[in-house]
Amino acid sequence: MFQLIARRTLLALAMILAASALTFALISAAPGNVAALIAERTAGPAASAELVQSIADDLGLNDPLPVRYGRWLLGSVNGNFGESLRTGKPIADEFAERAPVTGLLLLAGGAIAFTLSLIIGLLGAISNGGPLDKLLRAVSLVGASAPNFFVAALLVMLFSVTLGWLPAFAGSSAASWIMPSLTIALFPMSVLSRVVRVNLQEVMSRPFATTGFAMGYTRFGVLAREALPNIAVPYLTTFGAQFTLMIIGSIVVETVFALKGIGAFFIEAIRFRDFISMQATLLSFIVFFVFVNLLVDIICLLIDPRIRRQSNA
């Protein structure tokens, strides 16, 4: 068991290295001169070609790519991501300020997606082809097809502009988090509810479900007692993937609801060609993706002995 977890962790580290090298190389290959941007920030209209060259020398921008990658990775491991070209602040400080915002958004969205997807999937399975099942399938389809920015704009138009019930921007009160959390939860909730529904249908045709009915359990009883535990692994695996994808959704949601999280920081970095912040943010995304998936893998190992046996074999 311990060996399995250690093997998965090593694999995760290798993945972080490979992905970070790839993103570093891609961003380095993008057009635009970091030294010119720094020179413009420090000297304004007085930024001269000489100043740009001296900044490039100071930062080692003329060194070979592997050397620059090694230096950057070493700094990142030590928590030194450099300074934002746009704000001039250390990126580690920016992360420390912004991570709680994104964390809260993801947790709230994740909780909504987790709870509602189970309820919708279960209700669909209880209805089993009835009108409610069809309606919930349609709702899931719409939820999975509607882009975040569109959903956010509709919610703001309805609840803020027209009804005046909720603030248009998040962060000022508990109520202000309702719309951003719902927006970010909509897509994973829709996908997960379909995962629950389809897997429940498949599990309900298995012999142990028939045995449950023979023992006198109601449909809800069989679903809750026999079927739900059996879909835990596919559900958790998909939930892990969807939860990590919410960080991509946070880029749009934080921008629309004026939240100053990591997603907003990333989009601002792209807009201002803040290469150093882009690299640091992408690295944090990679670590987040790999960490959540590793966590899900470990949970699945713990709850399902079949996976442990397969992995040992």
Binding site: G32, N33, R41
Partner: protein
């Protein structure tokens, strides 16, 4: 008797409680509303930053709320007294004397006088990184001739010196107690109407400076809310979460959105003549554009009124002048030419181009030009480019729109790696001198801004105008505009209007003189 006693006791009590209740009901809301009045909420497109006067990082628009200059840029470029009550320029232009206001203190209580003013000026004047400001480059010495008298001695005359003192940074004044041992600014402490009390990446909160020397704002606090997304800003205004949006440097409002918001009865849209011009510029290194007649053919193919109507939704003025009239020394107005495709074709024929189907050929080459645009550098420029592409295609000039990011345009513009591109003049308070010196003089390093056009002959004309004093300035400035027109060096397109919007909570809304400033001091608020 008992009843009489009770009624005798009760009546005064009844009266007392009635009066008390009435007082509470009437006074409490007044007191509580006075205490709980929401701040004026203005959207800003990016966080304020540390407001360091010597760094090029923070948002320009917030400085004017906290810091004052010696002289303020007023309506139509009029110079107005701020921390200096009066000033005098010596006849040879090398001595600028200022009488300073005597009733001023920084918001931390430090008095403002000639010594603190001199300390401030010496932080940037004469430093190489501020050589782009003429008065800094030419500064010889700063003298305090009295407690409230200050003189700046220059090595050469700088005709735009007084205008340079109206720009946003570094010319404003900081409390000498707001720096560390190395002289680095530690806090934004100025003499302005507002004091920063909270500043983070989601908002900046300011409270009224009750010791402000000028007319004090009628409300006690102001919140600058960071909202980068334009749609979110307009929704926030309509829902009542924001009070004011707009201004190119504060929280830009696109013409299309402004037109939509005009239909909302709870929102007022303000559109006033702008201080910038959008220019179609020709690369002086483009082989296809060396012949002036090709540039003239392009200019003749452009329908500016259509650009105003479609791209700017009517919120712009078509122009062929480099600067709008609100800019000082902006020159005589040039009559707007009519679009004339026939004359444009004739110009190309005169230049030796031969029509072949729907294109022009010369020495086996097709007349095809690259129009480089960046939506980040100039919002709306991609649609504008597509419109120009369509208009030029009627003449037979092929245009390839190259849409690049901000970093690429920063790299390519200074080396003229394009045929056509869009540029904007700097606007008030930087113009006309800012644009003329930085964007037309070939010897001035304008960094990533690039140049509108360069030519050795033009250098002489511009330099002569920038050095001119008195009435001669008007004539020599006009000479620049005449040269540009005669050589078809640039094709000005439109002067966009300044767009702002506010909700019904805001009263007495007045636009500041430049878009680098924020409205606020004259505004009144109702709940």
């Amino acid at each position: 008797m008992f009843n009489t006693f009770r009624s005798t006791i009760r009546r005064p009590l009844f009266v007392f409680f009635t009066v008390l209740l009435t007082a509470v009901v009437t006074i409490f809301p007044i007191v509580s509303s006075a205490q709980e009045q929401k701040p004026l909420r203005i959207a800003i497109k990016q966080e304020t930053g540390n407001l360091d006067l010597l760094q090029n990082v923070s948002a320009l628009s917030t400085y004017s709320l906290v810091f004052d200059p010696l002289i303020r840029y007023g309506e139509n470029g009029q110079l107005e007294p701020a921390l200096a009550t009066s000033w005098e320029v010596s006849e040879d232009g090398t001595k600028l004397s200022f009488n300073l206001r005597q009733d001023v203190a920084f918001s931390d209580g430090t008095p403002f006088n000639a010594n603190t003013a001199r300390w401030n000026l010496e932080r940037w004047m004469g430093k190489p990184e501020f050589a782009w400001i003429g008065i800094s480059d030419a500064m010889q010495s700063i003298e305090t001739t009295g407690m409230y008298e200050l003189t700046i001695n220059l090595s050469r005359p700088v005709p735009a010196a007084l205008y340079e003192l109206t720009i946003i940074r570094p010319v404003r004044f900081l409390s000498p107690n707001a720096v560390d041992a190395e002289g680095r600014q530690t806090a934004p402490v100025g003499t302005g109407p507002w004091v920063v009390t909270e500043n983070n990446n989601s908002r900046t909160l300011l409270t009224r400076n009750n010791n402000y020397w000028g007319s004090k704002p009628s409300f006690s606090s102001m919140e600058l809310k960071v909202v980068p997304d334009e749609l979110a800003r307009s929704n926030g205004l309509r829902s009542g979460d924001l009070d004011i949006i707009g201004g190119d440097w504060v929280s830009p409002l696109s013409p299309r959105r402004a037109r939509t918001m005009q239909r909302d009865p709870n929102v007022a849209v303000v559109a006033e003549p702008g201080t910038t011009s959008i220019l179609l510029t020709f690369s002086p290194k483009s082989p296809l554009l060396q012949d002036q007649r090709v540039r003239e053919a392009i200019d003749l193919s452009i329908e500016r009124n259509a650009i105003v109507a479609i791209i700017y939704e009517g919120f712009a003025t078509p122009t062929t002048n480099l600067f709008p009239t609100v800019i000082p020394f902006s020159g005589d107005r040039v009559v707007l030419p009519q679009r004339d495709v026939k004359s444009a074709r004739s110009k190309l024929e005169q230049a030796g181009w031969k029509r072949s189907g729907n294109q022009w050929l010369k020495d086996g080459k097709v007349l095809e030009l690259e129009l480089m645009v960046s939506e980040e550098a100039l919002p709306g420029s991609r649609r504008l480019a597509e419109m120009i592409q369509g208009q030029l295609s009627e003449t037979g000039i092929k245009v390839r729109v190259s849409s690049v990011d901000n970093a690429t345009i920063h790299d390519r513009r200074p080396v003229f790696q394009y045929d056509l591109t869009f540029m904007a003049t700097y606007g008030a308070p930087y113009d006309p001198h800012g644009t003329l010196a930085n964007l037309l003089l070939s010897g001035v390093d304008s960094g990533p801004d690039g140049k509108i056009y360069t030519n050795p002959e033009l250098d002489v004309v511009v330099q002569s105008a920038l050095n001119a004093q008195g009435d001669e300035r008007i004539i020599k400035m006009q000479a620049i505009y005449n040269w540009l027109n005669a050589n078809m060096a640039v094709s000005p397109l439109v002067s966009p209007k300044r767009l702002w919007a506010y909700n019904r909570r805001v009263g007495n809304f007045q636009l500041p003189a430049t878009d680098y400033q924020m409205p606020g001091t004259d505004v009144t608020l109702s709940e």
